[in-house]
Every structure is written in C-alpha cells, then in structure tokens.
Amino acid sequence: MPVTYTSGEQVEVYRFSIPATVGFPLLALFLQAFVPRRFPLFSYLDLPLLVTIFFAMARRNPISGLLTGAVIGLVQDSLGGLPLGLYGIAKTVVGFGASSLGVKLDVENAGARLLVTLGFYLVHAAVYFTVARGLASLTLNWSWSRGFLAGLANAVLGVVIYFFLDKFKQRT
C-alpha cells in the first residue's frame, strides 16, 4: 500500500472504458489540430497535455501514465512537421510525474488540480524546450511571462475538463 498524504483513506484508483481511453485523447488531438485554424489563440492551450495529466492522475499507475503520455505525445508529434519524439519525451515525463504524484496526493479537488496542472505545464515546456534545443537544434524563444500565462490558462481549462472527465471514471 503506498504511503499517501491523504486523510488516511486509501486513494482511489480508477479505470476507464476503452472508448473513453481512446476517444478522449483522439478528441483532444483533433481539437488541438482543428480549432487553432479558426481561433489562433487556441494554440496556447495544450489539450493533449491536459488529457495526459488527467488519465495519469486518475489511474495512479506510473507505467500506465508514462505510456499514455508517450503515445499521446508521439501522435501529437506526428501531426507536426518536426521530428517525432519532442512531445513524446515531454509527455512521457509528465505522465510519469502526474501518476506518481497521484499515488501520493489527493488531487481530487479543484485547487490541487489547478496547481498540479500549472506545474506540469511548466515541466512539460521545460523538457520540450530542452530536447528541442539540445537534440533537434531548433531555435526557440522562451518567455516566462508568456509561459506562465499559458500555463495558467491551461490549468483553468484543465480544472473544467477534469470535472467533465470525472464522469467517465470507473472504480476498480
């Protein structure tokens, strides 16, 4: 039994049906590819990242979380023109971290979810930029203010989305 910082109860571990497991990541990827053409500001949001964090925290299984992150990241990479693996590596790290954190923390309330999502957004950006610069030799400009604001926007949206996705959780 894992050591938790909850109020003594064992943390809940959830699973999802196959349609939800496949459908929500695909929907997130579709919206991420489709909406920014109509609303360019939407590209500041990262729906696949939010889905990765949610599934990882709900399942509370690091291996499942990192694999979910890796798959979603690689699919997101393959939609772009850059080499495969940039988003894959970043989301693998995020998936592992979110599921590991979910084992130890109760992340069911909105405040915790907001902070966790903001933190993982920054982690994701840091890993992505490091890999893109170090391995792919891409020129990227990092702005703390922009990164923080984008992270905050993602966190707020994440809280809303998580409450919607909670309805599809199934107790193990």
């Binding site: 990827l29 590819a33 053409r37 890796a70 023109g81 850059l82 495969l84």
Partner: protein, 486 residues
C-alpha cells in the same frame, strides 16, 4: 537482483521509454529531420485517424455556411453584384491596357530568348487542420495524391504564397507554411531587385535574410518570389517589408508582413503543373481593346458613305478613330464591326452610362460635343484629343526601305480620338467616308519619309502638325509587322 528490479521497475521503464525516444529522435535528426520517410508510417496512421473528423467538420461547416449564405443571408447582394460588375468593367479596361504592356514585354523576351514559366494547372484545396503547435507551422489540406499533388509543390492564395507541400497522402497533404522556421523561399524586392532568402522564425514571423546591410530597403516595399528555389514561380507576391533593422554578419534583418493571412487560411491553390517554354510574341497581340469594347458597346447600323461624307468631320473622325483604335489593317478596317469611336456612343440609346466614364481617355467622349468639332476637317482638329491622351512613349524604328515609323503608344491605345480626321503629324487629309477610313493614318502611328540615317524620334506632338502630306499612309499594324512596313 529481482528485488532491485522490482523496486525500481517504474523508473527503469521510464528510462527505457525515454531512451528509445531519444534514440529515435537522434536518428531522425541525423537523417534529415522530419522530412525523411522513416517516420512516414506513424504519420500516416495519425493523419488517417485525425483527418476524417476534420474533413467531416469542415464539410458540415461548409454545408451550413452555404445554406445560410445562399438561401437566407442575401442582404445587400444586389448592391454587391452591381459593384462587382462595375469592378469587372474597370478590370477589363485595365486588362486591356496591361495586355499591351505584356505583349511588348513578350516581344522583348522573344528577342532575348527568354524562357518563361507559366502556371498551367492548379488544384483548389480546403484547409482542414493544423499541427496544433506554435512551433510547427503546418496545415493540412483536403487534397492529396489522388488529386495529383506531389511533394514540393507550391501552395498559394490569391493574396500571395502560403507554403509548399511537405507530405502527400492519398486524400490529404501536409503543407509547410512560409513562416515555419524550417522553410525557405527565394525572394526578391520588387523595386530594388535585391534578392534574399525568406525564412520563418520561432515566433511565426517571416524575415528576409541575406540582404547586405549597406542596401537601402524601404518599409512597405513589395516582396515577390524570385523563382530561385525551383518551387515558386517567379513574381508571386510574398508580402511587404514591415521593419528593417541591422542584423548579424553585415546582413539586414528585414521583417516581412506576409500577403496571405497565414493564421486563418481556408482555401488555397496548389500549383500542380508549371510549364517552361520559350517566349513567343504571338501569344497576346491579338487581344485588342477594340474587340473587347466592341462586344460591350451597341452596334450602329451601317451608313452610306455619302452620309458620312456629308456629315460633320466628327463622323469621319469617329470612323477614323475606330480604325485607329482597333489597329486593323487597311484592308480589314471597315465600319461593320461595332464602332467604338466616341461619336457613336451618344447615338445609342442602349449604351450603358457606366461604361464610358470608365475609359480613362483624355479625349472628350463625344466628338460632336467637343469644342474642337468646329474645326473638324483640318489636320489639327484632332490634336487636343490626341495630345491629352497622354502618350507614354514613342518608338522609332529605322527600316531598310528608308521609312521611319513612329509608334506613339497612348495609355489607352484602344480609344481613338473622336475628332481626328487626318494625321496630325503628316497632315494628311481626312477620308471621305467611313469606308475610306482604312486608308487614314492612325492616330498613334504615322509614317514619313526618312530623313537620312538619323534615328531621332519623330516629334509626335499632335499640336505641332507638319504640313507635309503623307504619301503613304499606314495603319497601326500588329507589333510583329512594325519592323516591316509596306
């Protein structure tokens, strides 16, 4: 050992997955980034999974939009239609003027044995998606290999260039936008003719590189494709210079505002076929203003020659103008085709009032109403009209048969001066009637006996007519014949 593996199982798997991805990334980077074929299968799967949704949404969106715009929201359509028709009239006139310039350019290109590139076939496509990332400026279009698309084809809009086709699937293609940091387009500044390389930045801006810092590049100058990249044909609009600053290594840092709205593309054109051929002079010379205008203006029934002769000089002038403007040869210039001489226009009840003012001619539209009409019949009668039609240049050609031909090309060469009844330069007499107008010298082209080997242009100002009668009147000939007068 087993306990160690079991204890650190999660971490080991994490390192393993990360290691595999880093290895794959390194291989891709070494082999040339994402453009290699080694990741094609994964991309095909992804595109196959995502794009059907995008196509469906775009299809529904278009259907709903069409229903709304075509059946419900028709407010202002009549006014818009009227405005567009007027715009078409303007553009047709402009087209005729430009076609003259194009014909001249073509003749010069022929002389220089230029090879031209023509866009012979395009495929219209709809944008259905993007990469969804700020760092990868990619769009997806709903046409692929089935529609004849291939890699490295140029993608444009009516406003300017958009990008090039990167990956082609059966029914979808991936397009790399020009503001992606991995793209590169050969570009040239329109006025200064400075060449550079157009690149995207990480922020999605477009910059022109490789222009030396000692060059003067004004803000607002138009940037065109240079054709050097072998993807975009030469001369397509790219954008305008938005900002110029000193950059690194003695080069300017020129930011470009893209002509096409790259953030909100909906429909694009893919250039699937380009032709390269030798320039020929015959392509465009037969497109004449008179032909186009004659289709639009009402015709006037034939009149007996005696009527015309008995009438004012304006009638003759009108006929003369017709033959001059239409640039017909002496044997073919008859009043049968719908005359476009200005004298004919007011006579018609059906003539559209909107078409005539569009003609930017300096001459008064109605010869009869012109004050110069009183002096019709004299060579100088048409002088003011000709003079105000703003001749933009003259070309003098010395010919082996000791004739000097002066071509005066007006801005509106297809509108004949209404009250020209003779050659203002040579002072030739006006014709007796419309049927004889073929023998009347045209307003823009006159011949006179050569005065030695001098190649000075003959003064063509109509206000200073010479008194020497022309013994060999000529009409405006097709450009190819200008070097070979009768």
């Amino acid at each position: 050992m087993e306990s160690v593996l079991g204890r650190y199982r999660n971490l080991i798997i994490l390192v393993g997955v990360l290691f595999l991805q880093v290895l794959g990334l390194a291989v891709q980077v070494k082999r040339g980034g994402a453009e290699t074929e080694n990741t094609r299968l994964i991309r095909i799967w992804t595109v196959g999974a995502i794009t059907p949704f995008e196509r469906s949404v775009v299809w529904v969106q278009r259907g709903v939009g069409n229903i709304w715009h075509n059946y419900f929201y028709l407010r202002g359509v009549r006014a818009e239609n009227r405005d567009l028709k007027e715009q078409i009239e303007h553009m047709r006139i402009e087209q005729v003027r430009l076609s003259e310039d194009a014909a001249q350019a073509r003749r010069l290109q022929t002389l220089l044995a230029f090879k031209e590139q023509f866009i012979s076939k395009t495929v219209a496509a709809q944008v259905i998606g993007s990469s969804g990332s700020d760092l990868s400026r990619i769009i997806y279009i709903d046409k692929g290999g089935d529609a004849g698309l291939q890699r490295d084809m140029a993608v444009i809009t009516a406003d300017g260039i958009v990008g090039k086709v990167m990956l082609v699937y059966s029914s979808v293609s991936q397009v790399l936008l020009i503001n992606d940091q991995t793209s590169g387009v050969g570009a040239i500044l329109k006025k200064s003719r400075l060449q550079g390389v157009l690149r995207g930045t990480a922020n999605g801006e477009v910059v022109l590189e490789r222009v030396m810092s000692d060059e003067q590049v004004p803000v607002g100058e138009t940037v065109l494709t240079s054709g050097g990249d072998q993807i975009f044909p030469k001369g397509l609009p790219v954008g305008t210079v938005a900002n110029v600053a000193n950059g690194k290594d003695l080069f300017l840092n020129i930011k470009i505002k893209a002509a096409a709205n790259l953030d909100q593309l909906e429909e694009v054109l893919v250039l699937v076929e380009k032709q390269e051929r030798q320039a020929t002079a015959e392509d465009n010379v037969r497109v004449r203003a008179a032909d186009i205008l004659a289709q639009r203006l009402p015709s006037v029934p034939d009149k007996p020659a005696t009527d015309a002769a008995a009438g004012t000089g304006n009638a003759a002038g009108a006929a003369t103008g017709t033959s001059a403007g239409s640039a017909k040869s002496a044997s073919t210039a008859t009043p049968e085709p719908k005359p476009i001489g200005s004298a004919t226009v007011p006579q018609s009840k059906n003539s559209s009032a909107t078409t005539i003012p569009h003609v930017p001619v300096g001459a008064s539209p109605a010869g009869a109403a012109s004050p110069q009409a009183a002096s019709a019949g004299t060579p100088s009668a048409g002088a003011p009209s000709v003079g105000t039609s703003a001749p933009v240049g003259s070309t003098t050609v010395s010919t082996p048969v000791e004739h000097k031909i002066t071509v005066v090309r007006s801005k509106v060469p297809f509108i004949a001066p209404s009250n020209v009844v003779g050659n203002p330069v040579t002072g030739s007499k006006p014709p007796a009637g419309p049927n004889k107008s073929a023998g009347t010298p045209s307003a823009g082209l006159s011949t006179k006996p050569a005065q030695g080997p001098s190649k000075k242009p003959v003064p063509t100002a109509p206000s200073q007519p010479t008194s020497q009668p022309s013994s060999q009147p000529s009409n405006r000939q097709p450009p190819a014949d200008e070097n070979n007068p009768q």
